[in-house]
């Protein structure tokens, strides 16, 4: 299971794998180390440590995670913690007060004061008197205050702003009236909240330097990829990463780096010492951003806004080095670091936030309180998530025949929060409160602290996440074998565009990555207007093609031999895959019977279940579930299309849905790789993967030049990533809370469980919660996710993930403990669910209103600032407006997208994990024309640039990536030598339409490749590259990603803040 290796660059090896090579490990194949994958291994039971891929890594690094995916954090915006600002030294972030109102820049340092002492969480800051709007600067406790328009914008510094900050200038010319300093922060008022005030401009310079130089410290320098051709690269072994990446850096470096202690989520207080776990958080930190009052005023519409210094409004700040996070500290839950940051988890009772995280890290005691806050209460569950390589593997507990100890009422699994009483003879379920007798052979006396004496030796009593070996009663049949069925479109179009050849070649290369052993079975079929199965039985001289011509009522042509043990058919399979493209070369069949083909393949797999990987290139036009070109029909009938546009995003009919449910029932998980140049009605097709726990991969417009490498890597990751089959998942909650709904890629037959024909490390499920009773303040609310699944090696396991969070009656606690990434992901997923059913305008309004209502609630009940002229943002959620804006402008919510693009977008979102959600809407942008000018810092990634055209120069080349796609943008006057060095052509006019990464022998190119490889690794995605140049239609794609700019899809960031502010003002009054 190696992760997909980017062609150009091998993934850094993960340390994990080195551990014990899997017996089967074949060095030749596995060369590329994929750290990610490796990581998995450690943890993942599925793959015994064997990971083959382990690259050549030298010695396992000790703790410092070698390549953490986390390295990611460095440098990008997305992930960034809510920190308000630029990265002043650590302490500052949350800190209120200190910032002098005074002149901006200079103040910077001031901010710094480390941890505030503030004792209590401030839920209700004392009301401040009226803040003098302008001059006084709004300070809010804890909140970052944006200067009102009136103020010179100087106050705000943007975090990563690359370009020389305007800030430096101090006051912008714009607004004379107000005193320049407006910026920022107020002295803290009173005890309460520490505020982040909008930050001091001054920093900007520092930041820059900081960022520039140190920027992200990503330890690893990936070896150079050989590059030119994608595939060869994969095989290469990658050189060991240079020195130990993280080790040194971790803490010590930070201060210097200037990047804030990044880890600290803004919301949580930053502790000077970076340990996450520290309980202290008591500090309330509310970061408030003040928006100049002017904005709000009707009279002065936008003028005001223009005066805000765009560089000073909240932006994400990446953090550079991984932090160690203990899930519980003392006896209470420790709020998790931002999902996008780099962290190493120590499971001390609660699960790693990778597996499960909650939108709010304290649970409101009542539904009313939650309603008042306007926030969502939901869990994002990613039960198989890829752990950091330095984390301890999940422990496996075998209770033998009797199976794991469970509550006899709610069936909750034994976990660290179950309380043993009566000398250990009984235990109280933390979920339902029922008291059970301890099974005799599980009895243990209690220690003086009331815990069982053996609690620390038993993983199930001290770890948030454990795996139980499932006993017979968890099996309705023997665990299924690992069955992989490949289904390839060979219709004329597919063959001619090279999609068929790409699919065959990808499969052929990936065969060696399939799990070894007799349990692995494969099958293959192709289809055009008929379905062609292949008998791969070894006895035959050559594979026999079996055609199923009845595509209205399909069947499987053989009971056996269509799916064969891999070890028995490898040669046949390889031969066949080489032949398929030529065999159909002269085919003139334009039709494609996708629905019938998957049905037929399903029938072949029905007895076992397994993974069905479909490569589809054209609109399914015949057979079961045939689709019509609805998009075109929509275009011709314009009036209808406007009104009913979202209908095109719904499945055309129920046929595929019905099929999908049947597939799920028989444990067939379908992934669809759409390699097309036309409309294929993803809205309809995607129903199948969504329901069966699979996913859609979309290559549009398919290019035979640049896409095969990504296709291969996607397929490889798909197969090699940690995953399980025939899974059932249920989330249980403490009394008072119940699960309202699940959403994600699965099939739900009964309300309490989700059925997952396939589950893998990338799939995330949103679990919304609701109150059905009151919770006790001061108690804890427990959540338990149990996933029963079969590993690829045929073991039946139950992965139990526990999270226990404190309950609170204080609204301010909720805001303080809000988890921005999770909240936003929740928004995003809910918006995605709405897209097919509501007009776009409504969805956008809804999203905006969600954001406004939260801010309104905060403003109304928590803010210590009373001036209406200020937009006050809770520190934890200070980036919410930016992300909301980005969401509104995202591909899925824009008006101008192709139907398929939007369908893909919201399907992609449905299973998207939290760490990838933010980059999707707020991508990272890097300048790459100067990647060779490093500051001696070890981080590979250059600093991120805000998504604003102001930061894009005409002579620059920029890389923008969202975890799935990557755009390379060429300014109109890029230096030709840079072009030559990086891409091999000399003029922007020569920018090709299709792109294959190459590495040339110059440092610029090498660094660029390194950057790309680091990103790939972080994202577990090969990235689909597109080249864009200014003034060209291709450039529009890039421009539309500049979410902070005003464009046809929405206002600029500043305007949006003004809009929000005005809305809040209206609602307040």
């Amino acid at each position: 299971m190696a992760a997909p290796v980017p062609p150009g660059a091998p993934r850094p090896g993960a340390n994990a794998r080195q551990q014990s090579p899997h017996p089967n490990f074949n060095p030749n194949f596995q060369t590329n180390p994929n750290s990610l994958a490796d990581n998995m291994q450690n943890m993942n039971l599925n793959r015994p440590h064997s990971m083959p891929n382990s690259g050549p890594r030298p010695s396992p690094f000790g703790q410092p995670p070698p390549f953490p995916q986390s390295s990611v954090t460095a440098g990008f915006p997305v992930a960034s913690p809510p920190m308000s600002r630029p990265g002043p030294p650590p302490g500052m972030v949350g800190r209120p007060a200190v910032i002098p109102a005074g002149p901006l820049q200079s103040t910077l340092p001031a901010n710094v004061p480390p941890g505030r002492p503030v004792g209590l969480p401030v839920s209700h800051p004392p009301p401040f008197g009226s803040r003098p709007p302008p001059a006084s600067l709004s300070s809010s406790t804890g909140g970052a205050v944006l200067p009102s328009s009136a103020f010179p914008s100087s106050g705000v510094s943007s975090a990563a702003a690359a370009p020389p900050p305007p800030v430096g200038a101090g006051a912008l010319p714009g607004a004379p009236q107000f005193p320049p300093p407006a910026i920022v922060s107020q002295p803290p008022v009173g005890p309460p909240p520490s505020m982040m005030s909008a930050r001091a401009p001054a920093q900007a310079p520092t930041m820059r330097s900081v960022l520039g130089s140190s920027a992200a410290s990503s330890p690893q320098t990936p070896p150079l990829p050989s590059a030119s051709s994608p595939f060869p690269a994969m095989t290469q072994a990658r050189p060991p990463p240079p020195g130990s990446p993280y080790g040194p850096q971790t803490w010590s470096m930070q201060p210097q780096q200037g990047t804030q202690p990044s880890h600290i989520p803004g919301s949580t207080h930053a502790q000077p010492p970076r340990m996450f776990g520290m309980p202290q958080q008591a500090l309330p930190n509310q970061a408030m951003t003040n928006i100049p009052p002017a904005l709000g005023q009707p009279g002065a519409p936008m003028s005001g806004s223009s005066k805000i210094d765009p560089n000073q409004i909240p932006r994400p700040i990446p953090n550079a080095t991984p932090i160690v996070y203990e899930t519980r500290h003392g006896n209470s839950a420790n709020p998790p670091p931002p999902a996008t940051s780099d962290y190493i988890v120590r499971d001390t009772g609660n699960c790693s936030p990778r597996y499960m995280r909650c939108t709010i890290n304290q649970i409101p005691c009542t539904g009313d309180l939650l309603t008042t806050s306007a926030m969502q209460l939901a869990l994002l569950v990613q039960p198989m998530s890829l752990p950091h390589p330095s984390e301890d593997p999940i422990q496996v507990v075998d209770f033998g025949e009797s199976g794991p100890v469970r509550c006899s009422r709610c069936k909750g699994y034994i976990n660290p929060f179950m309380k043993f009483i009566d000398q250990g003879r009984k235990f109280i379920c933390n979920l339902c409160g029922f008291t059970d007798d301890t099974p005799r052979d599980y009895h243990c006396n209690l220690g003086p602290d009331g815990r069982r004496r053996d609690a620390d030796e038993r993983p199930e009593l001290c770890r948030g996440t454990v795996e139980f070996v499932a006993s017979k009663e968890y099996m309705v049949r023997d665990p299924m074998p690992a069955v992989y069925f490949f289904l390839i479109d060979v219709s004329m179009n597919a063959v001619q565009t090279g999609a068929t050849a790409a699919a065959c070649s990808a499969i052929n290369q990936v065969i060696s990555d399939l799990p070894e052993g007799t349990r692995t079975q494969v099958g293959i079929a192709t289809f055009d207007s008929t379905i062609h199965f292949y008998n791969l039985k070894r006895a035959l001289q050559q594979p026999l093609m079996l055609i199923v011509p009845d595509i209205q009522d399909v069947y499987t042509p053989l009971e056996t031999d269509v799916i064969v043990q891999l070890s028995e058919c490898r040669q046949h399979l390889e031969l066949l895959l080489e032949n398929i493209p030529t065999m159909f070369q002269t085919s003139t069949t334009a039709e494609s019977c996708f629905g019938a083909a998957i049905k037929a393949a399903f029938l072949a797999m029905k007895s076992t279940g397994g993974k069905l990987l479909v490569f589809q290139s054209v609109l399914p036009s015949v057979g079961i579930g045939a689709l019509s070109s609805r998009e075109a029909e929509g275009r011709t009938n314009i009036s209808a299309s406007e009104k009913e546009a979202h209908k095109l995003l719904q499945p055309a009919d129920k046929i595929l849905k019905t099929m999908a449910i049947e597939f799920a029932e028989y444990q067939v998980c379908v992934d669809v790789f759409v390699t097309t140049q036309t409309y294929v009605d993803i809205a309809s097709i995607s129903v199948i993967p969504r329901t069966t726990g699979g996913q859609v991969y979309y290559y549009y417009p398919f290019s035979a030049v640049s896409d095969p490498a990504k296709l291969y890597n996607d397929l490889r990751w798909n197969i090699t990533r940690p995953q399980g089959f025939e899974a059932v998942m249920r989330v249980r909650c403490s009394q008072g809370i119940q699960v309202q709904d699940y959403s994600g890629n699965f099939c739900k037959r009964i309300p309490t469980d989700v059925d997952l024909a396939g589950i893998d490390c990338d799939k995330c499920i949103l679990v919304t919660l609701k109150h059905d009773d009151k919770l006790q303040d001061g108690s804890e609310c427990g959540f338990q996710c149990a996933l029963l699944y079969t590993t690829v090696y045929g073991q039946r396991r139950i992965r139990v993930t526990n999270l226990s969070l404190p309950c609170t009656n204080m609204l301010s606690n909720l805001f303080r403990s809000a988890d921005l990434d999770t909240q936003f992901t929740c928004f995003l997923k809910q918006a995605a669910i709405e897209i097919p059913t509501c007009p776009l305008l409504q969805v956008r309004d809804h999203v905006t209103n969600l954001c406004i209502n939260i801010l309104l609630s905060y403003r109304k009940f928590c803010a210590t600032v009373s001036s209406t002229g200020q937009l006050i943002l809770p520190e934890a959620l200070k980036l919410l407006p930016l992300y909301t804006l980005a969401l509104i402008k995202s591909r899925g919510l824009r008006n101008d997208g192709r139907i398929d693009d939007r369908s893909f977008w919201f399907n992609y979102v449905s299973s998207l994990s939290t760490p990838l959600a933010i980059p999707l809407v707020y991508p990272r942008m890097f300048a790459i024309h100067n990647v060779d000018t490093k500051d001696g810092d070890e981080s590979v990634l250059p600093p991120t640039i805000p998504l604003s055209s102001e930061h894009v120069c005409d002579d620059g080349i920029y890389l923008l990536e969202n975890g799935e796609d990557a755009l390379i943008y060429f300014g109109s006057s890029v230096d030709s030598s840079i072009l030559q060095q990086l891409f091999g052509f000399t003029s922007v006019d020569d920018v090709p339409t299709q792109f294959v990464m190459q590495q040339f022998s110059n440092p610029l190119s090498k660094n660029f490749n390194d950057v790309v490889n680091v990103i790939r690794q972080q994202r577990c995605s090969y990235l689909r590259f597109a080249l864009c140049k200014k003034g060209d239609p291709s450039g529009m794609a890039f421009v539309s990603c500049m979410v902070e700019d005003k464009n046809a899809n929405g206002p600029s960031y500043v305007e949006f803040l003004v809009h929000i502010h005005r809305q809040i003002q209206m609602k307040m009054s």
Binding site: A539, I547, P549, Y555, P557, N579, M583, T589
Partner: protein, 772 residues
């Protein structure tokens, strides 16, 4: 039997009639008891038949062909049609006609002539005749044990080698599903798989094989594309010239496995014979409309899947028996027959043949498939195993060339013209009514009726049809006016010969009308008792199949008594006075044996066997059919030449060898003494060479019979008192049974039966015939 002496009783015309002089009226005809019937082998070859390279002249009114019985006015260049008396002018190319310069068809001895037709004559290059390649689609069952499959594979390979090079070959195998093998795809073996449990229409087959409208040629005719080497029809994906695909097919057969779908214990294999046949039919329909093609089905068991199912998969349920059919306890039967009936219709409309080679110990559903085989004129062979000589010999024979050739022809069309008062009731035999109504079509229908034209998708040299006629009484009033004392019948058979040439054969017969009311003398002399027996057998079989409650024995008895009453000479109520004219003398014995035969006593056989026997009864010539009814017995002994023996248990003797030819089986029966001698090995001692020759003689004769016969009969060699002897004993007249064996002589034998013997039968017959 007087005709016995005549080695070729059928003559140039290949015709036998029950009555060679016809009564004038319907009343008289029905008084004759035995129906007016003509048995004709429409394309039996005969050295004297001339082949004419032109098309016949046709009467412009009744479209009968010019024949030797036409009256010709040489001066006026006019001929008068003997059927309708229409005067026809000779066309210009007959201008040279004169009394001394007659075209062949007018020579009186050429009552049968053959025309070689050219559908698309190419005047410039007559030699460049587009030949229609024959098409063979093999439909092979794979639900059988390896050994059987091995036998059938090797038989198929052999057959492939024997096929003419230009013949097109297709291959369908089936088990749970039907596989159409695409032979023209070189990259990989390619198979179209059709589900076994779903009925599929021809259109669906075409569509699914990718031969939709684009690949189909709407007009019947020649697949020009193919002939010109173009591949515009898609035909050559599935049907390839034997020379091109022999290698492919051989390797395909080598790899062919028995059906891979699992069979549950206690169950029959799932076998979709019905779907496989529909698919093959559809394939042919698409590829070769209008040309001759045959589907050769090799079936190793009953259809248990999909349409045409004859029995459930559960082994505890036996395949239907006659008893079940009688009691209506065969739940699948009717449905299956309906299915095969529709398949037959489709095949007939396409002009294609279904041949059935069934080899299994149990039944395979011949009874249900009979309709499709018989209507298309297909061959049928029933054997116990694909390794058995009955199958192997017959199958090889089918493809043999030259002397042994069956002369398989395609796309036959039979038309019958007859004189005014004669009506056609129908035809019994391998053909299908084309529902072509006309004035000479009778209202009462027997067999394939209501028509004057029949389709024979497949026919061969030995194919024989029985045409039943009726006399129209309504025309009677006119009859006296016409001086005509002769009646005329004309049979026109057009067909595609094995070389692909279009042929037309015209047989014109004349017979005399007699007024039997006056005297039966002429009538009696015109009686052909052998033909009559066979026709009675055929009619009886037909009635047994068609009529729900039909007591065949009784019906035969009644008719026999009526015949005897009418034609016998006796004093009323005096049984001892009864005598029968020699022309009738054998008839009662035939009837006696018919009553005992497998055709009437069906309960000894399975429905499949019965269907098989009847199909052959209907398609064989009179002589062979008579053997089926009444086997011939030849005795070999030291004292005399081989000589016919009475079909009686009394013929058994310890020192004789008997050779029984019961058509379907040939039994060589060694008397006890002979068997002992043989066991002691005397035949290998030089001094007993005569004994060796005696032993050899019946084998030589048996081989001669076997060689000529299709299907190959089963050869049983047995000894007196051996278990196999039952094959002989069952056919013998039980003149000696355990009831009357007191006077048994040494070496003779008895039969354990309660059946009446011929003698007792005769006694009763005489008694009843003379009753007033």
């Amino acid at each position: 039997m007087s005709e016995m002496a005549n080695t070729d009783p059928e003559g140039i015309d290949a015709v036998r009639m029950t009555w060679n002089v016809w009564p004038r009226t319907k009343v008289e005809a029905s008084a004759c008891v035995i129906p007016l019937a003509v048995s004709i082998a429409p394309i039996r070859s005969h050295p004297d038949i001339p082949t004419l390279p032109y098309a016949p002249l046709r009467c412009k009114s009744c479209s009968s062909a010019l024949n030797a019985f036409a009256r010709v006015d040489f001066t006026a260049k006019i001929w008068i049609c003997p059927f309708c008396y229409q005067r026809n002018h000779f066309p210009p190319h007959y201008a040279m006609i004169s009394e001394t310069n007659l075209p062949c068809e007018l020579y009186p001895q050429y009552t049968t002539v053959q025309y070689s037709l050219q559908a698309n004559p190419d005047p410039n290059n007559p030699s460049n005749v587009p030949q229609l390649p024959p098409v063979f689609v093999f439909v092979l069952d794979t639900c059988m044990i390896e050994e059987e499959l091995g036998f059938v594979k090797s038989a198929m390979k052999q057959a492939l080698g024997l096929l003419p090079e230009h013949a097109l070959v297709g291959f369908v195998s089936f088990g749970t599903q039907a596989h159409v093998h695409e032979l023209g795809f070189s990259d990989i073996s390619k198979v179209y798989v059709f589900r076994g449990n779903k009925e599929i229409s021809k259109e669906q087959v075409l569509e699914q094989l990718g031969l939709g409208s684009a690949g189909r040629r709407p007009t019947a005719g020649y697949p020009k594309g193919l002939q010109n080497g173009h591949s515009n029809t898609g035909v050559n994906r599935f049907l390839l010239p034997a020379s091109d695909c022999e290698y492919t097919l051989n390797s395909l057969l080598d790899e062919l496995q028995t059906d891979q779908w699992p069979v549950q214990p206690g169950n029959r294999a799932s076998r979709c014979t019905g779907v496989a046949l529909s698919v093959a039919t559809g394939l042919l329909g698409a590829c070769m409309p209008g040309t001759g093609a045959r589907i050769i089905a090799l079936v190793g068991g009953p259809c248990t899947e999909g349409p045409g199912t004859i029995v459930s998969k559960d082994l505890s349920e036996p395949v239907r028996s006659h008893k079940d059919l009688d009691k209506d306890a065969a739940p699948y039967f009717k449905k299956a027959v309906r299915f095969y009936d529709s398949l037959a219709k489709q095949l007939v409309s396409q002009g294609h043949v279904l041949d059935l080679f069934a080899s299994a110990l149990d039944q395979v559903g011949v009874a249900e498939m009979k309709v499709a085989v018989e209507r298309t004129g297909g061959l049928v062979v029933l054997a116990e195993s694909f390794g058995h000589s009955v199958f192997k010999g017959s199958f090889r024979r089918m493809f043999k060339d030259g002397e042994q050739s069956l002369g398989l022809c395609f796309n036959g069309l039979l038309e019958i013209n007859c004189s005014k008062d004669i009506k056609i009731q129908g035809v019994i035999g391998p053909c299908t009514s084309l529902e072509k109504k006309g004035p000479n079509v009778s209202d009462t229908v027997i067999g394939e009726g209501s028509t004057s034209a029949w389709k024979m998708c497949g026919l061969d040299k030995s194919t024989c049809l029985t045409v039943l006629f009726d006399i129209s009484s309504t025309e009677r009033s006119n009859a006296p006016g016409t001086a005509n004392s002769q009646l005329y019948l004309q049979f026109l058979t057009s067909y595609q010969d094995p070389e692909g040439k279009r042929m037309l054969r015209v047989t014109t017969l004349t017979r005399q009308w007699v007024d039997s009311a006056v005297s039966t003398e002429e009538l009696v002399h015109g009686f052909d008792q052998e033909a009559a027996a066979v026709v009675m057998a055929r009619v009886t079989s037909l009635k047994m199949e068609m009529e729900d409650v039909f007591d065949a024995t009784r019906w035969l008895d009644r008719n026999l008594i009526r015949v005897c009453s009418k034609f016998g000479e006796y004093r009323k109520d005096d049984a001892s006075s009864f005598t029968l004219n020699p022309c009738f003398s054998l008839f009662p014995q035939f009837m006696f044996n018919l009553r005992r035969s497998q055709f009437v006593q069906v309960f000894n056989n399975s429905p499949d066997e019965t269907a098989y026997f009847r199909m052959l009864l209907n398609r064989e010539n009179i002589t062979n059919a008579a053997v089926m009814i009444q086997p011939s017995l030849i005795s070999y002994s030291f004292n005399s030449l081989p000589q016919p023996a009475l079909l009686d248990v009394a013929s058994i003797s310890a020192d004789r060898i008997l050779l029984l030819d019961a058509y379907f089986s040939i039994v060589i029966f060694h008397g006890m003494t002979i068997a002992q001698w043989r066991n002691m090995g005397y035949q290998s001692q030089p001094e007993h060479q005569a004994f060796s020759q005696l032993l050899q003689a019946p084998h030589v004769d048996a081989q001669m019979i076997i060689q000529e016969r299709f299907p190959v009969p089963r050869l049983v060699v047995c000894d007196q008192h051996g278990s196999q002897a039952r094959f002989l004993l069952a056919k013998l007249n039980p003149s000696a049974t355990y009831n009357n064996s007191i006077d048994m002589t040494a070496g003779s034998d008895i039969i354990f039966t309660d059946d009446v013997s011929l003698q007792i039968f005769f006694e009763h017959l005489q008694k009843l015939a003379v009753q007033s």
